[in-house]
């Protein structure tokens, strides 16, 4: 039994690929009891959208996106299996699906049916583009969502082209996270109203919401974000600079206090009152001139010098880290940001520990199930429930 904040919450997880499965990973980390449904006779290499590489023949997509769940094999097109699904739904708190609009109805788990079985259920559907409209039936996935929502806008080097984030999964994970928020909000509303409800989240709106501030700036000013390399759209100096040892220093001056502290550290306190750079808006407008002054200064000392002195002056500084550094870094390990998870089928795998730390109801991460791994146990529990439900009637008859 979990001690997480969602202990006792049961999730019926009819999801595949990433966006839905990632959503229920989060609910599982928070302590919910997630039953992940897989079709019988699955192909291990193509689970999790077949995303390479494989570990012991299983796509890393499946492993990464199904932590913190139990596995049940159900063919939703078979009448017997559908009966089992309906029985499970009676005692579930959350129903989650990520399929093209119309598929839930065809599988017999549209909201009208599910809410009749269980009016208190929080029913969440995730789609790519929305439930109606010209794109509703087109496939939704991370890359298309990046392209359509303008996620590359303003990302890239000044003389290049807008870059897509090649670490594809960000839009899937973002949409899954917004759906997890909505489910949690639905559970909170249920405490107040006593009723379940239907919720829908699309990748189109979730991916746009992730860019709320930048799109808001565009809508408010007509200004498309510019490609500034590592530079910020809004603050300066706020980019990566090359130091004397050739290493990169990431530096973010975002307030006037930090700017004064920075000017002290570089030994040019008079810069802080220079009218060209007096406040952030001036520094952004005169960015090139400012960089012309700062580049040689920052190239004059090694990175460790700047890290030490700027940190002491309250200026945010940092540097790029690789997997080789991250996986052993005290900051990562002491906060459980990347954690090892023991699995029977894939050995020890590393994954992101949740980024939140809850003081009273901590999160947990555990191995994904093999598809259908817990079928017998879950069906036996159902059998027991059935028997318990029938017992009083039987007692009356005798």
């Amino acid at each position: 039994m979990s001690n997480g904040p969602l202990a006792g919450v049961r999730v019926f997880d009819l999801t595949m690929w990433m966006v839905g499965p990632w959503c229920s990973v989060q609910l599982g980390a928070l302590g919910a009891e997630v039953v992940h449904i897989e079709q019988p006779d699955v192909d291990w290499s193509t689970l999790g959208a077949g995303v390479p590489p494989l570990i012991n023949g299983t796509s890393v997509g499946y492993i990464a996106w199904n932590m913190n769940k139990r596995g049940l094999s159900l063919g939703m097109k078979s009448p017997e299996d559908r009966t089992v699904a309906y029985e499970l739904l009676k005692t579930s708190d959350v129903f989650l699906i990520n399929m093209t609009p119309g598929v839930a109805d065809r599988l017999g788990v549209g909201y009208d049916i599910v809410s009749e079985i269980n009016p208190q259920i929080v029913y969440c559907a995730i789609t790519g583009w929305g439930e109606s409209g010209p794109m509703a039936l087109l496939p939704g996935a991370d890359t298309p969502a990046q392209y359509v929502t303008g996620f590359a806008t303003g990302t890239g080097v000044p003389d290049g082209d807008d870059e897509i984030n090649r670490h594809f999964t960000q839009m899937d994970a973002t949409s899954g996270n917004y759906a997890a928020q909505a489910i949690l909000m639905g559970l909170l509303a249920r405490k107040r109203t006593g009723k379940g409800q239907r919720i829908h989240v699309s990748m189109l709106r979730a991916g746009s919401a992730l860019q709320s501030v930048r799109i808001g700036e565009y809508l408010g000013s007509g200004h498309q974000p510019q490609r500034l390399g590592s530079g910020s759209q809004n603050t300066a100096p706020d980019r990566a600079y090359v130091c004397a040892d050739g290493e990169l220093l990431g530096l973010s001056v975002t307030s006037e206090d930090q700017w004064r502290g920075f000017c002290e550290v570089i030994g040019q306190p008079e810069l802080a009152s220079d009218p060209r750079f007096a406040v952030n808006a001036d520094r952004v407008d005169n960015r090139e001139e400012l960089d012309g002054l700062l580049e040689p200064v920052l190239a004059g000392m090694v990175r460790d010098y700047w890290l030490m002195h700027l940190n002491r002056a309250g200026v945010p500084v940092g540097y790029p880290m690789t997997w080789a550094e991250l996986r052993h870094h005290a900051q990562v390990l002491e906060n459980d940001y990347i954690v090892p998870v023991e699995t029977a089928a894939w050995g020890q795998v590393w994954t992101g520990g949740p980024p939140w730390q809850l003081s009273e109801t901590p999160a947990r991460m555990f191995s994904p199930p093999m598809p259908g791994e817990h079928s017998q146990q879950i069906l036996a529990d159902l059998q027991q429930q059935r028997a318990a439900a029938e017992q009083p009637a039987a007692a009356r008859e005798s």
Binding site: Q26, I164, V213, L358
Partner: protein, 400 residues
């Protein structure tokens, strides 16, 4: 009708993107949010050159639907006032740069209000050697967590995501954990939550960490991001598209070659790569095959290229900038953008909340507050008399 979080009271002691966007999401979902600013105001009010009137649009886009008060959090009377507000609140959102006053830290506030859910943002996390690093470093968190693996050319300095993803990811995770903690409150009481920008970037890359756990074979994760130049889409006559032929058969591809006028392709030295490249940046050699595709696509508009690719079973989508996103028929149909009346600024369009709740609809609750706009109203609610409010103003505890 109210949103799903109707009845919850939030006090926001934060600035920048992460804390304010987190509180804005709670407001969109129906919570009553009081934003507290220091006398100088949230620094995003003065951000950049993108302003309407004299207010940074970034501020207006992360602070809608809140009431605002402005006070000196280091004055005794200011601290007392905040503690009065927090005593009656459900949720406090704060960040590492806001106030160091001991009476505003969790140990003291949790005693004052045992049911309080207190969420604190930091750069790098609650523990560890970097716990006390200066706050508000979006770039610092992006660099540390995202490294050079997914943006920029291999061997060149890393490029940052133009969207503030570290702050936004952290805000999204904070909303999740806050809702979960409120859900558990009846059993476990209030609690402290810590969320960091760095940790949020790292968890968003979980698939990569799993991929690096002793894989059967390794040449870069998923779409080979470690070994390829930046992916910028496939250029057509008037813009770029994403396309993928992963789900098409050989016959459909033959037809597609013909339709795109690629009769020269068999003589092209890269044809062998084109045959195994499914487009979309997906194949190991797609960056090498790209010029071949682009030679053909240069003769077609984005709309034509998308229509043709879809006709032969492929995936195709436009590479939109924000102007194109806002104009996109589907985006208009599902209501990606909504208008807010912002006093002193006029009608302002913003990104709508991303959830559809059929029972308890979420909605933008109103404009962003002016600095100290609701000082009198919020203090009166907290039991302060008009004379007391005037006194606090004279003493400089209240700003504006």
């Amino acid at each position: 009708m109210g949103g799903p979080l109707e009845g919850l009271r939030v006090v926001e002691l934060a600035e920048g993107v992460a804390g304010p966007y987190c509180a804005q999401e709670l407001s969109d979902a129906g919570a009553d949010v009081i934003k507290v600013e220091k006398p100088g105001g949230d620094r995003t009010r003065g951000w950049g050159s993108r302003k309407r009137g004299d207010v940074g649009v970034a501020f207006l886009s992360a602070n809608r639907g809140k009431r605002g008060i402005a006070l000196d959090p280091d004055s005794e009377a200011g601290v007392e006032l905040l503690r009065k507000l927090i005593a009656g609140a459900d949720i406090v959102i704060t960040d590492a740069g806001w106030s160091a006053a001991a009476a505003l830290q969790y140990d003291s506030l949790g005693e004052l209000n045992p049911q309080l859910v207190y969420c604190r943002f930091s750069e790098y996390g609650k523990g560890g050697p970097w716990a006390d690093q200066p706050p508000y470093g979006e770039l610092v968190a992006q660099l540390a967590g995202d490294g050079t693996g997914s943006l920029g050319a291999i061997g060149e300095p890393p490029v940052r995501m133009a969207t503030d993803i570290a702050g936004m990811y952290a805000a999204i995770y904070a909303v999740m954990s806050i809702c979960a903690a409120v859900y558990a409150r009846d059993e476990s009481g209030g609690q402290r939550i810590d969320v960091s920008l760095f940790g949020s970037i790292l968890v968003m890359r979980s698939t990569l960490w799993v991929a690096l756990s002793n894989p059967d074979e390794w040449w870069g994760f998923h779409l080979d991001s470690y070994i390829k130049p930046p992916d910028t889409g496939y250029h057509c006559k008037d813009g770029a598209i994403y396309f993928s032929l992963a789900r098409t058969g050989p016959e459909q591809r033959e037809q597609l070659y013909r339709e795109l006028g690629m009769d020269w392709v068999e003589g092209d030295p890269l044809f062998e790569l084109v045959k195994i490249d499914t487009g979309g940046g997906g194949g190991r050699y797609s960056h090498l095959a790209r010029p071949v595709w682009e030679r053909a696509l240069a003769n077609f508009t984005v709309d034509e290229a998308i229509e043709i690719t879809r006709r032969y079973g492929g995936w195709a989508y436009p590479k939109n900038d924000y102007e194109a996103l806002v104009a996109e028929a589907q985006a208009r149909h599902v209501g990606v953008i909504e208008a807010v009346e912002q006093p002193g600024v006029g009608t302002l369009r913003q990104v709508a909340p991303p959830w559809d709740f059929e029972g308890t609809p979420a909605a933008i609750q109103g404009p962003a507050p002016q600095l100290g706009e609701h000082n009198a109203a919020v203090l009166a609610e907290a039991g302060y008399s008009e004379a007391e409010i005037a006194r606090l103003r004279e003493d400089g505890v209240l700003a504006s």
